[in-house]
């Protein structure tokens, strides 16, 4: 049996280090590479027929008054171009003079055989609501999960500790995933859009699911061996669930990696967040979640 509990300071330190790096990455511009869902603007995905480079696109866009578009090559002559919002949005608060047909014409100018695969425009109002509503939704969901855990573990003494630890783990996972994603955003230019929020929600679901399975084992062993030391019961429980936790993540990761490699490019950022989430969720449920319980019981000092 591996004594995971005894090494808790190692895992907590490791988490702290990654958290600090992630938070630092979030503090430095461009923080999270926010997409148009959050900042408003227009995103166009164009597949060109001829070989086109970014500067050609940029100069053509500048001509119609779209300054400094962000141009990202997605391979296969396909580009994702992000620029300001168009003139028919936010009628009361918009100084853009570029209409959608202007945009389409300028793409036609670059390459008359270009195909606009996807075009999305978001006004300021939507963008403002997205952040606020995401935070509210996540908070309310966490609150109700906490209530359920309180109920499910009601037969144990101090069941609130399980509830708080589960939510604390959830917060740990969300911050860790966002931090790492921000780091990846710095390096690979990954964007945060509404799909990212969905992925984060998935991570929350996975993390809670995983944590509760282990807590369930702890509950069972606490009832079965009340004479054992708290930390040793927890260690037994973790060891008993570890195969299951790894088995589940391996299977989920098998699906996710095959989606990442073979799936369409539209899902790529989404899958990256999910993979991060599954790894972080598994790690935290094994090495972090139960440590919160022990620290609460026995204090920060290693016994």
């Amino acid at each position: 049996m591996i004594n995971i509990v005894a090494k808790r300071m190692w895992f907590l330190s490791a988490s702290t280090v990654i958290l600090i790096v992630g938070i630092l990455s979030l503090l430095f511009p461009p923080h999270l590479n926010l997409g148009i869902d959050f900042l408003s603007g227009t995103g166009v995905t164009v597949k060109f027929e001829n070989d086109i480079n970014s500067s050609q696109i940029e100069s053509q866009f500048n001509k119609i008054g779209l300054d400094s578009p962000s141009i990202q090559s997605m391979g296969d002559k396909t580009f994702f171009i992000r620029t300001e919002k168009l003139s028919d949005f936010d009628v009361d608060n918009n100084d853009s003079t570029v209409s959608r047909s202007d945009l389409e014409k300028s793409i036609e100018e670059i390459d008359s055989d270009a195909e606009i695969i996807e075009i999305e425009s978001v006004g300021t109002k939507v963008a403002e609501g997205t952040v606020r509503n995401s935070i509210i939704a996540v908070s309310v969901a966490s609150f109700f999960v906490m209530l359920y855990v309180l109920y499910a573990f009601r037969r144990l003494e101090k069941s609130y500790r399980f509830a708080f630890s589960a939510v604390l783990t959830l917060v740990h996972d969300v911050v860790l995933v966002t931090g790492i994603y921000s780091l990846l955003g710095h390096i690979f230019g990954l964007q945060v859009n509404s799909v990212f929020i969905v992925a984060l929600l998935t991570v929350i679901g996975y993390s809670v699911n995983d944590t509760i399975v282990i807590f369930d084992r702890i509950r069972e062993n606490q009832i079965k061996f009340p004479e054992n030391k708290y930390s040793s019961n927890i260690n037994i429980s973790i060891n008993e669930s570890i195969i299951r936790s790894l088995g589940t993540s391996i299977t989920t990761l098998l699906v996710l990696f095959s989606m990442l490699i073979l799936g369409g490019s539209t899902l790529r950022e989404f899958i990256v967040v999910l993979i991060l989430g599954v790894i972080v969720g598994t790690y935290s449920s094994i090495f972090i979640a139960s440590q919160f319980l022990i620290i609460w019981e026995e204090g920060i000092k290693k016994k």
């Binding site: 027929e49 949005f89 936010d90 009361d92 959608r100 047909s101 036609e108 008359s112 055989d113 195909e115 606009i116 695969i117 996807e118 075009i119 999305e120 978001v122 300021t124 109002k125 939507v126 609501g129 997205t130 509503n133 939704a137 309310v140 969901a141 999960v145 359920y148 855990v149 499910a152 509404s194 799909v195 969905v198 992925a199 998935t202 679901g205 809670v208 699911n209 995983d210 509760i212 369930d216 069972e220 062993n221 037994i236 008993e240 195969i243 299951r244 088995g247 589940t248 299977t251 989920t252 098998l254 699906v255 996710l256 990696f257 095959s258 989606m259 073979l262 799936g263 369409g264 989404f270």
Partner: protein, 640 residues
């Protein structure tokens, strides 16, 4: 013990799922209930979201009309109007939903238009062309995927529809191909009598040819006898082509006809061949125009200065006008009148349509108000009639019409007449009045267009990748967990089929985020099976026999599976509940799909897996306990 009823029940569900998925469309009428599900174009007939099948998604924010707050009724009224407009666009499966932002009245409208990127061309081809001819020509020119629908054979009107054209040159190419096949030709009949009724010779073929060559050197002229000629144009373009639109250019037609002036009197000219009109529709811009750029209808009381000198002015009428002139001018020049706001608004107007009234030669516009509007309209018309004022109706701030009233009109039904009304103008006014009946202003705040090819591409790639992933999971499960792995695999296949069948029956619209939820729910389903297998293994190691280990494994795994899944379902409910605050259906689609997936996974784990485990364990091979434990040896559990 194997429960026979469970066995039958499970088998029936399995067979039903297979049946439901084997037919793309299912429709029947049972006890008067129409049941219609599925889609002939999609995989398994599943209902796909806009991000997977392509289409347009527009979000409008309602702007309050001056000084009034938006009520839920306003939003519902606006939704209905938009729905009617969208329906008039003729796109199937379009929808208009009210969505909110979390506080106060839900003030956003989400319009979803699938397949808008398809191409529609309304085309008029003269010369007895049939749909079959046209289809042949299109096929020959390489446009095999364009379908032809005959709208009016006498007038030669057709609707061409098909997938979006690949690039901007393709439309001109298509029209060129048609122009080459159906050159422009006219039938020109010369009169054989002069204006005075004397007989005269009709122009000869040579003369006609000579005249035409002034405008088109490569034209062909054919003598159809008795002064009737067919002139086929080659170089002279008689139409005005704009982007996405062609119509006959009247000036050019005039030039063409005038070229014959010197040789005789033309009795009749008619088009006998050629593409005289075409109009491309179905674009996003056109839809947006139709839906969003809405006019706002306002009623105002035009309070003009009085006819008689009421306030004892020294000079009346003012500005040295005669009494007759004053009556004409007092409601025409803005410095003599004031437009006052009234409680009547566009949303009080139920209908407006062209109509006729006995005793009135010209057509009229009949307007109908709802009950509130009727009362207000009576008050308004009474005041207007008494003061000899006008009722001014504005559309988008511009005056549409300003009728007078001879007395108060009760009952909410009135007609408007005008000296210049004709059948066309009353139609236009009716449409304008109706389109203005929107209780709120609209502001476009989000737009998303997905090309159908992108959607289907990402769907097929994701499906392939997902299935491969699932296959890998099955291989892993079987090789690691042996018999429980085999059971888990069969249960997973059952799960996937049932999930898709449920999606199809409800029906649940499958979106990209829904697909992600499916992946996660597969993870959850696998997890339940892994928990059970692990527990069964533990029980075996503690010395139980196979059958009781299986029973124990299931009952011990249950609390974990229940608790973890209930938490997931709680998250789904909260997300679904909050989902309509987001202007995308991404969140709700995800929550709904995941919630259903988790519920079904619990069902399959505890019904199907248990049943299969018991079935297999009662066979001679299934009774070998080393086939349940990857380590193959029985060790006492280490929790001592």
């Amino acid at each position: 013990m194997i429960n026979i009823r469970t066995l039958i029940f499970t088998s029936l569900i399995f067979i039903f799922s297979i049946l439901i998925l084997s037919f793309n469309t299912i429709s029947f009428n049972f006890l008067g209930i129409d049941f219609d599900r599925g889609d002939s174009d999609t995989i398994f007939g599943l209902t796909l979201g806009l991000d997977l099948k392509g289409g347009t998604h527009l979000v409008y924010e309602a702007i309050p009309n001056k000084g009034r707050d938006i009520s839920n009724d306003d939003m519902e009224g606006a939704r209905k109007i938009l729905e009617r407009r969208v329906n008039s666009f003729g796109i199937s499966e379009s929808s208009v939903q009210i969505v909110g932002s979390g506080s106060g009245v839900n003030n956003k409208l989400l319009v979803q238009l699938p397949g808008l990127s398809d191409l529609n061309i309304n085309i008029t081809v003269a010369g007895g062309v049939t749909g079959e001819n046209l289809k042949e020509v299109l096929d020959e020119s390489g446009y095999t995927d364009i379908e032809v629908e005959e709208i009016d054979l006498v007038e030669g009107r057709f609707l061409l529809s098909g997938p979006k054209l690949k690039n901007n040159n393709e439309l001109p190419n298509l029209i060129n191909a048609l122009d080459n096949k159906y050159p422009f030709s006219f039938l020109i009949a010369f009169s054989s009598q002069t204006e005075d009724g004397e007989e005269t010779d009709v122009p000869t073929l040579e003369k006609v040819t000579e005249s035409v060559s002034k405008v088109d050197q490569n034209s062909a002229v054919e003598d159809l006898s008795q002064g009737i000629y067919r002139v086929t144009l080659n170089d002279f373009d008689i139409t005005s082509d704009e982007k996405n639109l062609r119509s006959l250019d009247q000036d050019k037609v005039q030039t063409f006809v005038e070229s014959f002036d010197s040789i005789g009197d033309i009795f009749q000219v008619s088009i006998s061949g050629g593409v005289s009109n075409w109009k491309v529709s179905g674009g996003v811009e056109e839809a947006k125009k139709l839906i969003g750029e809405t006019a706002q209808l306002e009623f105002k009381e035009r309070d003009c200065l009085p006819v008689e000198n009421e306030s004892n002015e020294e000079i009346w009428p003012p500005d040295n006008l005669s009494v007759e002139e004053w009556i004409q001018a007092r409601c025409v020049f803005p410095n003599y009148y004031e437009d006052k706001a009234v409680a009547l608004s566009g949303e009080d107007l139920i209908d407006a349509f062209p109509d006729v009234q006995p005793g009135i030669a010209r057509p009229v516009v009949t307007i109908i108000f709802d009950d509130d509007g009727a009362d207000e309209f009576y008050d308004l018309t009474s005041r207007v009639a008494k003061n000899q004022d006008l009722l001014a109706i504005f559309l988008d701030g511009e005056q549409l019409i300003a009728p007078s009233a001879s007395s108060g009109i009760s009952g909410g039904r009135a007609f408007i007449q005008g000296p210049s009304f004709d059948s066309q103008s009353v139609k236009t006014i009716s449409i304008q009045l109706k389109s203005g009946a929107l209780p709120v202003g609209l502001n476009l705040i989000q737009e998303r267009n997905v090309d159908a090819s992108l959607g289907s591409d990402s769907l097929s790639k994701s499906l392939f990748a997902g299935s491969l992933g699932l296959l890998l999971v099955l291989l892993f499960m079987i090789s690691y967990y042996r018999i429980p792995g085999v059971v888990a695999s069969m249960s997973l296949i059952f799960y996937s089929l049932l999930l898709l069948a449920v999606f199809k029956i409800i029906p649940i619209t499958l979106t990209l985020s829904g697909a992600a939820a499916v992946i996660l729910s597969i993870g959850v389903a696998v997890d339940a099976n892994i928990l059970i297998s692990e527990r069964t293994k533990e029980e075996l190691r503690s010395g139980r026999n196979v059958f009781s280990s299986i029973s124990e494994g299931f009952s011990r795994a249950w609390p974990s599976i229940r608790d973890s899944n209930v938490s997931t379902i709680i998250i789904c409910i909260v997300l679904y509940w909050f989902g309509d605050r987001f202007t995308t259906s991404v969140i709700q689609g995800f929550a709904l799909t995941l919630g259903i997936g988790v519920l079904i996974s619990m069902f399959t784990a505890f019904t199907v897996s248990r049943l299969l485990m018991r079935l297999i364990s009662s066979t001679p091979i299934g009774n070998k306990d080393n086939l349940y434990d990857p380590l193959g040896s029985r060790k006492v559990g280490s929790n001592d």
